[in-house]
Symmetry: none
Subunit: 412 residues, 2 copies
């Protein structure tokens, strides 16, 4: 009988010591021409160092999730770290917590909360509470934290209510012995009453968690009862940190994350990378940090955020300049002599669309062991002809492992 | 814990309203040069509008089934509709029924029938009855229908015997409570006796169905006993309509099929598309129909048959001209302002081979949201360098969904 390995089992079996690997992510790197016949942001940017890497190494196009699907930042980064985000589902509550930089522990259940409006009989009239302002959200969360934060202390459970944006917040309940498979309270339609949280796992942990969360929901709705708009709430995506297989165990690498924004530190933590603390927020500051910790790790994830932010703003020129700022630090990375350097994005954020998009992501892999292809510059069109072809993002780390001499031969 | 999604689950979860999608299929589109150094049918055709679409959009090569496998029309269309034909097996009987335009119901078991020759002891001497003519086939089916059509009326079961071509026919038995997993009668070799139909499901439905079909087979062979060649028969691929997940449910689109030939209407019906009735059989008539129903649907499958027919005939020039006839109607499709337009084939039918072939199929996707690649014309060679690369046909609908703005972002 054929035995069934997962890809991770294969990596765990084959990894060996080797050269260091750098994964440099320009968030939202992929773009579009603003007008027919024009160039993309990356094609427009003057990038002599990236072009040299493309020329000496290989390029290609990365599909973050599946063809046609627009990635969120959480799933897109999981995929870059080689965890198929369709297979490894992360609860919305966990992702929202990561998104606001809340450090989850293994004892936490996180939920995405939505403030809502209900009528006198408790029927939902607006599932988003009239899209209250983010300032309102901060005030309401503080009110809930003060009134309910300690209400489950007798059960050894702490409550955290954290604002996200507009009507959205995060609820975290922390305590030993929480768990289960918990349903959502949102009936997903107006004119209905919210549902109680129930446990579908049939475990004592699940039953207890559902009971405690329902206690909190009841108390929280009483606290909100006199609010003009946000006089109720719903909870969705209640889940624990899924306990993903740890990246350092799968690949046999001490892994460091160098990022400015909490979300990306959060996803890196989720897979077991260590977060490097440093001063400053420019690409050059991130390379300062890289140089300082170079001897302590085997793998380095470096995250540049502003390419995505400028894309979301529709600011084509600023995105171009940020790409050029990254190009300028490439020689400092090469001076450290990595065995493999990947430069790519987690997804595309074309300034033209002012949004993440489903388009595949230009990617380059440079290594002293790379087989050169015919591409001599780094851009969306040229990557179509690159030696890596069009591939799923989860292939990147194994690809880098091979190039860094970190995988043993399979079989005799 | 990781949850396991299918790709269809993912689409069901992510679909949202968006722009309209047109899937224009030129049956057997892919071709070959007739001589070394020559051009294919598509490369030879003068196609200014298709070339413009290729220039503004993306091209690539579609693999209908698996690398190297020559597709039949049924599996090839299932694949275009995003149902992997290796995973979603459709019984030969069901496919043959679709092929002749027989409308199967959920109460039907369909079988592919082969007329055969046997000797006096019932041993098979020719599994194809000397490849009798199609006219013979029509006569024999009428004879069987008249003699056996009502023989199972006492069991509440109707019999339909429908001619296909040469020695091939379709048997449909219709009644409540039929089912099971039924074996074939054909021993697949001469010098052997036909086998009885048996049920391997162990269900009462299966046992009853096997018993009834064996009754029919015995009666039918008696009816044929005095025929000079086709004095027996075999049944293969006995199955019910597999009840595929419905395309409109998976993708959240009202889907219309515009086709001239019954087979293609049949496969479209199988996945839940609605069949558009119209006058005429030319591509221009199909676009008339498209214009008339444009407001009533979100997705339009348009099927052009003659490119394949001319390929099967070995008529290179006629295939070229049919491609040009399709090119001429492209502006009428664009005038309707679809969000995504795919032009491809279900498989290749090179005039040089006078047959379907295993070659991948030239494909273009045009959309206002497409990222242009470097290709500026639509042909087999240029598609190799296209931005979609070489991909499995089941990716096309998700790809179009993204381009039409019909998929929500996954994750935060």
């Amino acid at each position: 009988m054929p035995s069934v390995f997962t890809e991770f089992d294969l990596m765990t079996e084959l990894h060996q010591p080797g050269d260091k690997i750098v994964l440099l992510i320009l968030d939202g790197l992929g773009g579009l021409p603003m007008e027919a016949g024009g160039l993309t942001e990356l094609e427009t940017a003057i990038t002599p160092h990236l072009d040299r890497l493309a020329s000496e190494g290989m390029t290609g196009l990365s599909v973050p999730i599946r063809t046609g699907i627009e990635p969120g930042s959480g799933p897109a980064h999981l995929s870059l770290f080689s965890y198929d985000p369709v297979r490894y589902e992360i609860g919305r509550g966990v992702l929202e917590s990561l998104g606001i930089g809340f450090a989850l522990t293994a004892d936490d259940i996180a939920a995405r909360g939505n403030f809502a409006s209900v009528d006198a009989e408790g029927f939902i009239t607006d599932r988003r509470a009239g899209r209250i302002s983010s300032e309102e959200c901060v005030r309401l969360c503080a009110k809930l934290q003060a009134a309910t934060g300690e209400m489950l202390a007798d059960e050894g459970v702490q409550i955290f209510v954290e604002p996200v944006k507009e009507h959205r917040f995060v609820l975290v309940i922390r305590g030993e012995g929480l768990g289960g498979a918990l349903t959502e309270t949102d009936p997903l339609a107006t004119g209905k009453q919210p549902l109680p949280v129930t446990d579908t796992s049939g475990t004592p942990e699940g039953e207890r968690s559902a009971r405690l969360i329902n206690r909190w929901v009841d108390a929280a709705r009483q606290v909100l009862a006199d609010e003009p708009k946000a006089n109720s709430l719903n909870l969705r995506g209640l889940a624990k940190d899924p306990g993903l297989p740890r990246f350092p165990d799968i690949y046999g690498m001490r892994a460091a994350a160098i990022a400015v924004y909490p979300m990306y530190k959060g996803v890196a933590s989720l897979v077991g990378m260590e977060i490097v603390e440093f001063e400053g927020d420019r690409p050059s500051h991130e390379i300062d940090a890289l140089e300082q910790v170079w001897d302590d790790y085997d793998f380095f994830f470096i995250h540049v955020k502003k390419t995505d932010s400028y894309g979301e703003d529709g600011n084509f020129d600023a995105k171009v300049h940020e790409i050029e700022a990254v190009d300028a630090v490439i020689p400092r990375i090469l001076a450290l002599q990595p065995g493999a350097l990947i430069v790519t994005g987690d997804h595309s954020t074309p300034a033209k669309m002012r949004s993440h998009s489903f388009h595949p992501v230009p990617t380059l892999l440079w290594s002293p062991r790379a087989r050169p292809d015919t591409t001599t510059d780094f851009g969306e069109r040229s990557c179509v002809a690159g030696g890596m072809g069009i591939f799923h993002a989860t292939n990147l780390i194994p690809q880098a492992m091979g190039h860094a001499g970190r995988l043993k031969r399979i079989g005799a």
